[in-house]
């Protein structure tokens, strides 16, 4: 029985979203050179031995760029997954559970990859 205007207004404007929008654009811009760097790294080390790749990854410049890529990518992925879930999943329980899993997944990827890079950098 609610009027159309009542339905359209719903719970009102959330007054946020700009920060996420800006973060998404920022990480997108950062990802361009970082992914090019990753491709270069993979091509350069194609066929190289395990120890050579490890040594290359341990160099400070490569390690820093790899960490930047991992975090920029993980943040971008978290935002993207959230957008997709909100677009397509409308069942409240399913949506909330998926949003939590997406956050955990992005955090896990970020933390595990960081640990790997740090370990290699410190000669692990």
């Amino acid at each position: 029985m609610a009027t159309p205007l009542k339905r359209v207004r719903g719970l009102g404007a959330a007054h946020h979203g700009t920060e996420t929008f800006w973060r998404q654009r920022l990480t997108a811009v950062a990802n361009v050179p970082l992914v090019i760097f990753l491709i270069w790294f993979v091509v350069r080390n194609a066929g190289a031995s395990y120890n050579d790749v490890k040594a290359c990854l341990a160099s400070p410049v490569v390690a820093v760029l790899m960490l930047a890529l991992i975090w920029s990518g993980a943040i971008h992925m978290r935002i993207g997954l959230r957008e997709i879930i909100e677009d397509y999943l409308h069942n409240k329980l399913c949506k909330t559970a998926s949003l939590m899993l997406a956050t955990f997944f992005a955090a896990l990827v970020g933390i595990a990859s960081t640990l790997a890079i740090v370990k290699i950098s410190f000669g692990g």
Binding site: T3, P4, L5, R7, V8, R9, G10, A13, A14, H15, H16, G17, T18, E19, T20, F21, W22, E83, E86, D87, Y88, H90
Partner: protein, 262 residues
């Protein structure tokens, strides 16, 4: 809500073929129209009826053909129309796979031999080609599309420079036909919370207006992950607009302003 299949009562069935031309009819004289039909007063599912329009007896626009069908073949065919020159936005519908105005679309522009006509996508259907625009109009009302000021009202008029007036070009021409909003997948899936390109273009029209004194308040009311940021820059809106406007640019302008003030 995402729907990959139509609900049972919306599945389209084959309809009636009304006036097939004679076998020895002059080639090219009769144009085939396949028109979506739905009558809520019956329990029947929607169907697609086939009509043949005599192009020697009918005007060149798709709306002319619909009127010809209504006047000469089937008076029960229901659609909205008014100005027949692209300024009222009443006859917006999906023609030959694109949302557009029946009055400004030339029948010869249609790619297929048969011209398919459906109501605007993903809207509840009132009857045949008439969609229910209630929510769309409520969304327009929600952005408060009128001049809002706090300064004392001037004796004569609110003044505006030529340059500021020019900023409204490409915005004020919107006729609210909803071709853009109903071409937008984000609006299909989240139309209950996302305002859609037409309404955001209208919102931008008031944000851009140099005379309006509530710009910040307007932006506050738009700043929302759904109301504004559900736009994923798909650009169907700009492609669909029969007036050649660019709702996507308006949405980008709103987002830029949000970042600017954050």
């Amino acid at each position: 809500m995402v729907q990959f299949t139509l609900p049972k009562n919306s599945k389209i069935t084959k309809g009636k073929e009304w006036n097939p031309p004679a076998v020895d009819a002059e080639p090219g004289r009769w144009r085939e129209y396949r028109v979506y039909r739905y009558d809520p007063e019956t329990a029947d599912n929607p169907r697609v009826d086939t009509y043949w329009v005599d192009m020697n007896d009918c005007g060149p626009m798709v709306l002319d053909a619909l009127l010809w069908i209504k006047n000469k073949i089937d008076p029960t065919l229901t659609f909205r129309r008014s100005c027949r020159e692209g300024v009222c936005g009443s006859c917006s519908m999906n023609i030959d796979g694109t949302n557009t105005l029946a009055c400004t679309m030339h029948a010869e522009e249609a790619k297929g031999a048969a011209i398919a006509i459906y109501p605007l996508p993903h809207m509840p259907v009132v009857k045949d080609l008439v969609p229910d625009m209630t929510r769309f109009y409520a969304q327009h009302r929600e952005i408060e599309p009128w001049l809002k000021t706090d300064s004392p009202t001037p004796q004569k008029e609110w003044r505006q420079s030529h340059d500021d007036r020019e900023k409204l070009d490409g915005l004020y021409e919107c006729i609210l036909c909803a071709c853009c909003s109903t071409a937008c997948p984000s609006y299909w899936w989240n139309g209950d919370r996302y305002l859609g390109p037409a309404i955001l273009l209208q919102a931008n029209r008031w944000v851009e207006d140099s005379r309006d004194e509530r710009t910040g308040e307007r932006l506050d009311d738009l700043e929302d992950p759904f109301r504004l940021y559900r736009c994923h820059t798909i650009l169907n809106c700009t492609k669909a607009c029969p007036k050649g406007l660019n709702p996507a640019a308006s949405i980008a302008s709103l987002k830029r302003k949000m970042v600017e003030r954050s």
